[in-house]
């Protein structure tokens, strides 16, 4: 993939994440902070499909943005084709693992499997 496309994705995920993370934080503010973290309330959040979908979107956006940012830093630190390939594929793998792990939580908590 061309670097310009990757970086456009980087900017896009940043803007998307800003909007959705704001909603995510505001949801904590709808009630007392401690109360909002009570097990029952959190589970209720996961059961509410639009919110669960939003969490999934936040997870994807932040993972892509975060690991691409890390990829950029690491590419600048050291050069060499083997190293760069390792970083490129490594960051994709890290993104995928984090998204899979987070999705598992959203899915299991949303479906009440625990």
């Amino acid at each position: 993939m061309r670097e310009s496309i990757i970086m456009k994705i980087h900017y896009g995920t940043a803007l998307g994440a800003v909007a959705l993370v704001a909603v995510h934080i505001l949801m904590r503010m709808t009630q007392n902070f401690d109360q909002s973290l009570q097990y029952e309330n959190v589970i209720a959040n996961y059961h509410f499909l639009p919110y669960a979908l939003m969490l999934e979107a936040v997870l994807i956006l932040l993972s892509v943005h975060g690991f691409n940012g890390l990829r950029v830093i690491l590419l600048e630190l050291k050069q060499g084709s083997t190293y760069e390939k390792m970083i490129n594929y490594g960051s994709i793998a890290a993104m995928a693992i984090l998204i899979a792990y987070g999705s598992r939580t959203i899915l299991m908590a949303g479906m009440g499997i625990s």
Binding site: Y11, V42, F67, L77, Y101
Partner: protein
């Protein structure tokens, strides 16, 4: 050996925020907050995953994170998040050529128009917003 021959400044030079004005400080903070937020994201996903193990596991996790240190850390995360967002928007617009000034005949003492007051103001506003958000966050977290 190669590093010494190429005379690169290396990580030490890249991570040194002094010498080149507030813009370089913003660059350094953007990197630092980005790394911090990625670490937090990973930690947050791991901590929230305890919910699938039931109420006891969740409460145990809360007991671990809802401490003074935990709240202080979260306050820092709020600050990092706000700075990274606000400064990130400035940088993103700058990358599109917005707010970097217009080319013109350079005149002595050759002040760069890309390092203009708007850019500097935005950096200070980002720092200010981060500080305000941290104060608000701390007041919510500590229940002041």
């Amino acid at each position: 050996m190669t590093e010494r021959l190429s005379n690169r400044e290396g990580i030490k030079g890249m991570a040194n925020p002094t010498r080149y004005g507030i813009e370089r400080v913003a660059y350094w903070l953007q990197r630092l907050t980005g790394l911090g937020l990625l670490a937090y994201l990973i930690g947050h996903i791991i901590e929230t995953s305890t919910i699938v193990h039931g109420k006891i596991a969740w409460d145990k996790m809360l007991e671990f994170t809802q401490t003074i240190q935990g709240h202080l850390f979260l306050t820092l995360v709020i600050g990092m998040c706000v700075f990274h967002t606000a400064n990130g928007i400035r940088v993103m617009l700058g990358h599109g050529g917005i707010g970097v000034g217009k080319p013109g005949q350079p005149e002595y003492p050759y002040k760069a128009s890309s390092l203009n007051y708007k850019q500097r103001l935005c950096i200070w506003v980002s720092i200010g917003l981060a500080a305000l958000a941290m104060m608000y966050g701390a007041s919510v977290l500590f229940g002041v």
